[in-house]
């Protein structure tokens, strides 16, 4: 298949781009590629998240592990996550500047009548590149715990780079909408109808961007899906377009590393000649 003949050229068209979501259509590529992109965006785009919490003091009503869990789920700005090493790639024994970011949280409630909210805004990062995200000055931050008078939380957090495959807290996106063939022209699915399809099945919004079937259209059973509608919503740690970019990058990296693996296997296996005729 010639990838670069004009008819077969893969194409991306961005429909909508805001601070928190991106909508685009991927055309002229195959399902596996589109799905690989989706999967990588969800699970393999690296971000920064709090991974270790050292409790110096916790007199709140919440248990240590419960607070630690909440801290882990707070999105940190990961725009420059690629500037930091994965802990496993770092030569240090525990955590160093190369592979981690330290954040501190120290809140004590001194108010008499009301409770004090401990929020993500109280987290002080040692690295200005990696801070808890906020939506402007009005944003109250993400609630971590509530303290009453005399209660105090003092913790040291170590944020590390990771991917959502390992833990959901490293996922940059909330949901990835993915659709092809809104009119079911490929007949991949079989709508279950009781009376009237139009009444029971409202159309998806992607139908506006697709080509409705003609009344007498003949079913092409060889047709393959080639228009993929994506919508990605970020949790805030990364701009939505960066998620897509990083996903492409990650995909490339993955393929190249497999390529490398394949090359390193270019030694005689079981006494046979290596396959030299590849390139």
């Amino acid at each position: 298949m010639d990838l670069f003949s004009p008819a077969n050229k893969p194409e991306i068209r961005i429909q909508e781009l805001t601070g928190e979501r991106i909508r685009f259509i991927l055309t002229n590529t195959d399902l596996s590629m589109a799905n690989a992109l989706r999967r990588i965006m969800i699970s393999e785009v690296a971000t920064i998240a709090i991974d270790m919490v050292q409790f110096d003091l916790n007199t709140s009503v919440l248990a240590d592990e419960f607070i630690a869990h909440r801290l882990g789920l707070i999105p940190l700005d990961s725009t420059e996550a690629d500037k930091i090493k994965y802990p496993r790639d770092c030569n240090c024994s525990g955590a160093c500047k190369e592979c981690s970011v330290e954040l501190n949280l120290h809140v004590k409630c001194t108010e008499e009548d009301t409770t004090k909210d401990v929020t993500s805004k109280d987290l002080v990062s040692h690295d200005p590149r990696f801070t808890p995200i906020t939506e402007g000055p009005k944003d109250a931050g993400i609630l971590i715990a509530k303290l009453r008078k005399g209660q105090e939380i003092k913790v040291k957090c170590i944020a590390k780079k990771g991917v959502a495959k390992e833990h959901a807290k490293w996922s940059p996106c909330a949901a990835v909408a993915f659709e092809y063939d809104p009119f079911n022209k490929l007949r991949h699915t079989h709508y279950w109808i009781e009376e009237d399809e139009k009444k029971e099945w409202p159309q998806s919004k992607n139908a506006n961007d697709d080509f409705p079937p003609l009344d007498d259209e003949i079913f092409d059973f060889t047709a393959k899906p080639n228009r993929f509608y994506f919508e990605i919503e970020t949790i805030g740690s990364m701009k939505p377009e960066d998620i897509v970019m990083n996903a492409f990058k990650k995909l490339l990296e993955k393929i190249s590393s497999i390529q490398m693996g394949l090359h390193s296997n270019d030694v005689p296996i079981n006494g046979r000649e290596p396959t030299r005729d590849v390139f």
Binding site: R13, S32, L252, V278
Partner: protein, 91 residues
């Protein structure tokens, strides 16, 4: 990666890729199946608690499984690279 040639079938081999999942398995299989020289291409994840992918490829006599996998990977790189630049332009 570990490559094990099939002992019984000519021009067939399994490729075990470590620390990969359906993402790569599916996309490589798909690319392989687009090649006319590939007679068989399939992948599996032997167990959900094992994080490896096994791809099995059988080709015609004209070529070798390793070659076809390499080609598939190459094609993939080209395609992803192309898409990436497209995306960057549109952005």
């Amino acid at each position: 990666m570990k490559i094990t040639p099939d002992t019984k079938v000519q021009n067939a081999a399994t490729f075990e890729i470590f620390r990969e999942d359906h993402t790569m398995g599916n996309v490589i299989r798909h690319k392989l199946l687009q090649e006319p020289q590939v007679i068989f291409a399939g992948y599996k994840i032997p167990h959900p608690l094992e994080h490896n992918v096994i791809i099995r490829v059988q080709t015609t006599n004209e070529t070798k499984p390793e070659a076809m996998v390499a080609k598939a990977l190459n094609d993939l790189i080209t395609e992803v690279g192309y898409l990436r630049t497209k995306f960057m332009v549109h952005k």
